[in-house]
Symmetry: C2
Subunit: 425 residues, 2 copies
């Protein structure tokens, strides 16, 4: 969706002092600065729309501090979520926020990322304890104070929260202190197919209301399931489907699974299957994990673009039904899947990059969907961020005073407008 | 601790339009504005240090919107946490953040409050979805956009988070959209006494590491237990004690209780007792609930002041032991209790208000404790806020660049410095 716009130069600093010197130099010379994590962002956040210097942080890839007893870790910006979890493997702890890509953790801070585990463990917003930030002029800020890593605080303004989701427009994140969680003792997964989208969503609401502590609850529509069947030689029902995962002790899991089964069957689910062993679990999740590629394979040669709205969960059935009608009306291929426990879903749209007319329809559809979400008290982006393409929708979402406040924040921290210009605002 | 400084006038607006008009009028006339919730704040936040107009928001006490399916509610600033939970009683939902006092929910937003349930349900930071704020000049800001109440978003800067914990210094909160949680199906409580502070803290860490989803885990030291025995005619061991609470289904609770029992006994606990029935639970929690008054009764005629530090949980044993020595060295009466699952504890200090020398010692002790917490990577306030008395500690906590950033934030939103002047910064 976002045409690549290369920077004038790329630099690979090795440490925070170099980042600080680079920022100071660029800033004093009026040169735009574009922070780069792993480049998996979906909203064109690393496009150099005004040229400038791309600061690629991948060489700073150390885990600086691991406090097992305190459930916290300090990572440099080149550490990805998979690298961290590999390191944590035998520690009894893990970091649960899991976007589909193996993104850098500081990039995930920058976009306010989340993923399939957010319904239980929260998004990046809830899992960042402290940040080291190089401000545009080169000054070093520790948002919660140098070296601090407490679980909670009421000390002054929440500077940490200000940088989570700031998409590189307020400063460069050079270290993040993250909250870790105990690794689940055991895991059980289940999938179940429904006669309608509403039945799947109602099941989700009932599971949450019953306080069944579900770790993941993912929705895949019939188009996605069909694509997965073809792509992975599976034999799943081509119907709205929920993928569920539970974390806990063996005994607790049996009970949670039973309650989820009852609730989904009360809502008309058929084909409820579950698995406890890792291999069997992998087989069940295969459809979810390969969904993106399975959908892409529906029209070889096409590129994918993912929408990202999030609405109050009670409004999910109507927006999902409407979205399917919109797709049909626009003649677009789109598969729907989402983190339905949070009210967040994606529509994966296929587009022939050589076909400007189809590209135009995809953009129009994506904006229409954004506006539908806004009309239902929702947001135009649950986890991918604003980047380049959703700036107009952001204005509609937060209103004039909200935009004015954001602009003043930006001007306060970046008076020359050189930090990742053209994004968010 | 903070001598009462009355405002020049108190006004009781009935609606947001009146709040906005009042703010605009005061601001244009250079008159300080002091927001008032229920006045239970412990850091002098409502003192009118420069005179001005106190805007008492208690008359705006409506629950504006209740979305059961979406687990959210919109409250005016006069609604207290108990009033909300009374209204929710038969809904199957509740709001878990519970400071000791029946504070207003918007006051709790303003101070970034938490309480005994934070270890499981989070603090106010994690439970506010949107805020309606009257900015100093009278403009109306909806931090997440008008009427929005989604579970998560990555749309622009986190303005909601900026106002949580701002202690009335950035604007007047005239409505809060809060996240609700399913009410626990069943509840079980347990108390257990330990031979040492370390044994109690180690048990806490082990319970958290074992991912036992404890809802409350509170620590009371020997002085507190002794006071409670005397005040409430109880017969508890005079020893470091943990109060635990678990929320879940009957079956799950039995298992959680068993695991907690094993862990605490491995750490040397004696007198482990538990209760499921409401009356019996009430009896066990009696000591915790009446602790403040029980401690006050140790020296009739004295006033109480509560410290509020929070440290990484691994550092709790050393700071608790040190604090007890400091108390002895200063000849002060102090009882320790705390939300130990978060690393947050309070030392309730008794002081004769007629004795300036003792008052001085209490202040010195409190600052010393704050600095001890800072030296251990902690914070000077886990939940009460900075208010008047901790401004020096805040500077030491966040450092020069942190303070400068906070000051610029304040100047950006309140250029004339009239919103609750003299607090936080
Ligand atoms: C297949 C696939 C699946 C995905 N699934 C999800 C998902 O489920 N949930 C989700 O939230 N996202 C998802 N994403 C999007 C993406 O993975 C996230 O946005 C991720 O957080 C981006 O991290 P990154 O390190 O790649 O950042 P980049 O792409 O390098 O940068 C993204 C933005 O953050 C800024 N930035 C990066 N690093 C820093 C830094 N250290 N300091 C300051 N600014 C910085 C950049 O300037 C840019 O504006 C998916 C992407 C793909 C390709
Ligand atoms: C016995 C006792 C036990 C306590 N236990 C706890 C505890 O466990 N955890 C905890 O966190 N706190 C505790 N507290 C402290 C207190 O209850 C909290 O700080 C509470 O959040 C204050 O709410 P309030 O409505 O009384 O605010 P107030 O005292 O009226 O005001 C506090 C601050 O917030 C500002 N403010 C209030 N309302 C608004 C508004 N609508 N808009 C903007 N600014 C506003 C005021 O200007 C002031 O700066 C306890 C207090 C007592 C007396």
């Amino acid at each position: 969706m976002h045409r690549c716009q290369p920077p004038d130069a790329v630099v690979w600093p090795q440490n925070v002092e170099q980042v600080s010197q680079l920022a100071a130099l660029c800033y004093s010379q009026g040169v735009p600065i574009i922070p780069f994590g792993t480049g998996t962002g979906l909203e064109g956040g690393v496009c150099a729309v005004q040229g400038g210097v791309c600061i690629n942080l991948t060489h700073m890839d150390k885990i600086l501090e691991l406090n097992l007893e305190d459930f916290s870790v300090v990572v440099e910006p080149g550490v990805t979520r998979k690298a961290l979890n590999t390191r944590l493997r035998d520690s009894g702890l893990w970091f649960p926020v899991d976007p589909g890509a193996d993104a850098s953790l500081c990039g995930m801070v920058a976009t306010g990322a989340s993923g399939t585990n957010a319904v239980r463990y929260g998004t990046m917003r809830e899992n960042v304890l402290n940040l080291e930030v190089v401000l545009p002029g080169g000054e070093l800020l520790h948002t919660a104070g140098l070296g601090r890593h407490f679980r909670k605080s009421a000390a002054g303004y929440n500077l940490t929260g200000l940088f989570v989701g700031s998409e590189g427009t307020l400063g460069l994140i050079t270290a993040a202190t993250l909250r870790l969680h105990p690794a689940p003792e055991a895991t059980v997964v289940a999938t179940c197919a429904f006669p309608s989208v509403r039945a799947a969503v109602d099941s989700t609401v009932h599971i949450l209301q019953a306080a069944v502590p579900v770790a993941r609850i993912e929705f895949l529509d019939d188009v996605t399931m069909d694509a997965c069947n073809k792509h992975s030689q599976l034999n799943c029902s081509v119907a709205p489907t929920l993928f569920l995962e539970f974390h806990g002790s063996e005994q607790v899991l049996a009970e949670q699974l039973q309650r989820a089964k009852e609730i989904t069957q009360d809502n008309g689910a058929f084909h409820f299957s579950s698995a406890k062993e890792a291999e069997e679990r992998g087989r069940l999740w295969a459809a979810r994990h390969s969904a993106w590629y399975a959908v892409l394979a529906l029209r070889p040669g096409c590129k994918g673009y993912s929408t990202d709205v999030c609405v109050p969960i009670s409004r999910l059935p109507e927006i999902l039904v409407q979205t399917k009608e919109d797709l049909k009306a626009q003649g677009l291929t789109g598969a729907i899947l989402g983190h339905v426990g949070d009210g967040n879903f994606h529509c994966l749209l296929l587009v022939d990059p050589e076909d400007p007319e189809e590209l135009h329809r995809v953009k129009a559809f994506s904006e229409l969907l954004g506006r539908r979400a806004l009309a239902l008290h929702g947001t135009c982006t649950g986890e991918h961020g604003i980047g380049l393409g959703k700036r107009q929708l952001l204005q509609e979402e937060v209103g004039a005073v909200g935009m004015e406040t954001m602009r003043r924040l930006k001007a306060m921290l970046d008076p020359r407008g050189l930090m990742n210009p053209g994004k968010v605002l």
